[in-house]
């Protein structure tokens, strides 16, 4: 695992973000290496989601820099460059955000056809392969309203994968799911991470974070309070706030 972790995908330097007088991020410094799986945990309102959303520019930071493979993505020249960058970063949301007016198949093929100019049949072949991979092939012609929460989230994941991203970001992907559907979604995320996909996941699933991550980040009050390997982080947390948080959730 060491050699594939050598290359820095993200380097975040002194990232600040505020929303009308509320400072949400107060100087985040972090690196994520290629193939790494990083879990971001912490209390609500601490800035985890904002941090993640800054990484694909859904939020515009006030200051600092985000280097993606050495390029500062906060100084991209135009909107086209922003779109091209986002194509490399898959994002999965808490509330799935599948497109209700499109069939399952069209949800997946829309952006490869529109933005990657992929021929329709090629995009559909790829979509079918992805649907098979997550066990949704029989839903191919359905509209998302006919899917369960777990199925919607699996659809959202492969919709992102259809763009062949280099990184996957997950923003609390299981928080809106009924308990019995959490596992099927985490399984997909885990399989992907193990196949070498660089993964950053904001989650409240401590068991999952412990099992799958290479590194755990604890964000509170707009700062990374502590980070480390899952063993070190969960067995012997160094920081008082980390200990307090873990005592509440474990």
């Amino acid at each position: 695992m060491t050699d594939k972790h050598s290359f820095e995908i993200f380097k975040v330097i002194d990232l600040h973000k505020s929303f009308t007088n509320v400072d949400v991020l107060k100087g985040i410094n972090a690196t994520v290496k290629e193939g790494e799986t990083v879990s971001v945990i912490g209390p609500s309102g601490g800035g985890k989601s904002t941090f993640l959303r800054c990484l694909n520019l859904l939020e515009k930071p006030n200051s600092g820099s985000i280097l993606y493979k050495g390029t500062d993505i906060l100084n991209l020249p135009n909107k086209k460059a922003v779109s091209s960058y986002r194509q490399k970063i898959g994002m999965v949301f808490q509330h799935f955000n599948v497109f209700p007016h499109l069939t399952v198949l069209d949800n997946i093929t829309l952006s490869p056809i529109l933005e990657k100019k992929m021929p329709k049949n090629e995009a559909e072949d790829k979509a079918k392969e992805l649907l098979n991979r997550v066990g949704l092939y029989d839903k191919i012609a359905e509209y998302p309203t006919r899917l369960s929460g777990g199925q919607k989230q699996r659809l959202a994941i492969i919709r992102a994968l259809a763009m062949e991203p280099e990184v996957m970001l997950y923003d609390e992907p299981t928080s809106a799911l009924d308990p019995e559907m959490v596992k099927e979604v985490l399984q997909v995320i885990q399989d992907l991470a193990l196949s070498g996909m660089t993964t950053i996941i904001v989650t409240h699933e401590m068991g999952f974070a412990k099992l799958v991550s290479d590194r755990v980040m604890f964000i509170d009050g707009g700062l990374i309070v502590e980070e480390g390997s899952p063993e070190q982080f969960f067995e012997s947390p160094q920081n008082e706030r980390t200990r307090e948080f873990l005592s509440k959730v474990l």
Partner: protein, 221 residues
């Protein structure tokens, strides 16, 4: 009463047919141009250009805050003074009706677009879709479902509002009533016939809309 109704209809139906044509023509022109202007206003309102937003806000507030009849008088008095070309009464009234309805259309379209969950836009953008594609392929198709029913209601309002053109004796259904009433002195039956024709037109539209709405909702829960 029924007797009077049928006698008026037998003798003056041509006046009502002519009036109906006038009403339908006025409505069609108003609906077309008000939708066009309302869409442009909504686009300005949703743009990131602040002065354009303010102008649309002021426009919408003033139009919605004053009676349409007052607006008709206003344009009828003002436009001939401003325009170097001569405007007929009909043209002045059409402009007033279009201006009035466009404010409502603008609000309907704006609200319909803003009612689409912001997560949909984020999902589109995060997939690397351009802002234009996100709007055209993700936001707009969902917004149309919100917009269409309210818009057709507004069309029905516009049809009814063309009756105000009777103030200037422009050919339409309420003017037909005034014509027949002044020849026959049978006010109530003459009015009833106009009312029935209005109702048939708007009722047909409403039914048609309901059918269409059900089809649209087919893939909603």
């Amino acid at each position: 009463m029924l007797d009077q109704l049928s006698r008026i209809w037998a003798k003056y139906s041509f006046v009502y047919w002519k009036g109906l044509l006038g009403t339908l023509w006025l409505s069609a022109v108003t609906v077309f141009f008000a939708t066009l202007l309302g869409t442009v206003l909504a686009v300005l309102k949703l743009s990131k250009f602040k002065p354009a937003q303010w102008i649309v806000d002021i426009y919408v507030e003033i139009i919605r805050g004053t009676p349409v009849l007052l607006q008709i008088y206003f344009f009828w008095l003002l436009l001939p003074r401003l325009a170097s070309i001569e405007l007929t009464d009909t043209q002045s009234i059409i402009i007033a009706l279009v201006v009035n309805a466009s404010a409502y259309v603008c609000e309907i379209i704006r609200a319909g677009i803003q009612a689409v969950d912001v997560g949909q836009q984020e999902a589109g953008l995060s997939l690397g879709l351009t802002e234009f594609h996100t709007f055209m392929r993700i936001i707009l198709p969902q917004a149309i479902k919100n917009i269409l029913p309210a818009l057709v209601n507004e069309f029905i309002n516009m049809i009814k509002q063309t009756s105000l053109a009777s103030v200037f004796f422009i050919n339409e259904l309420t003017t037909s009533y005034r014509t027949v009433q002044s020849t026959t002195f049978l006010a109530i039956p003459a009015l009833l016939i106009s009312g029935i024709i209005y109702f048939v037109v708007t009722f047909t539209l409403t039914r048609g809309l309901n059918f269409f709405e059900k089809r649209l909702k087919a893939n909603d829960r």
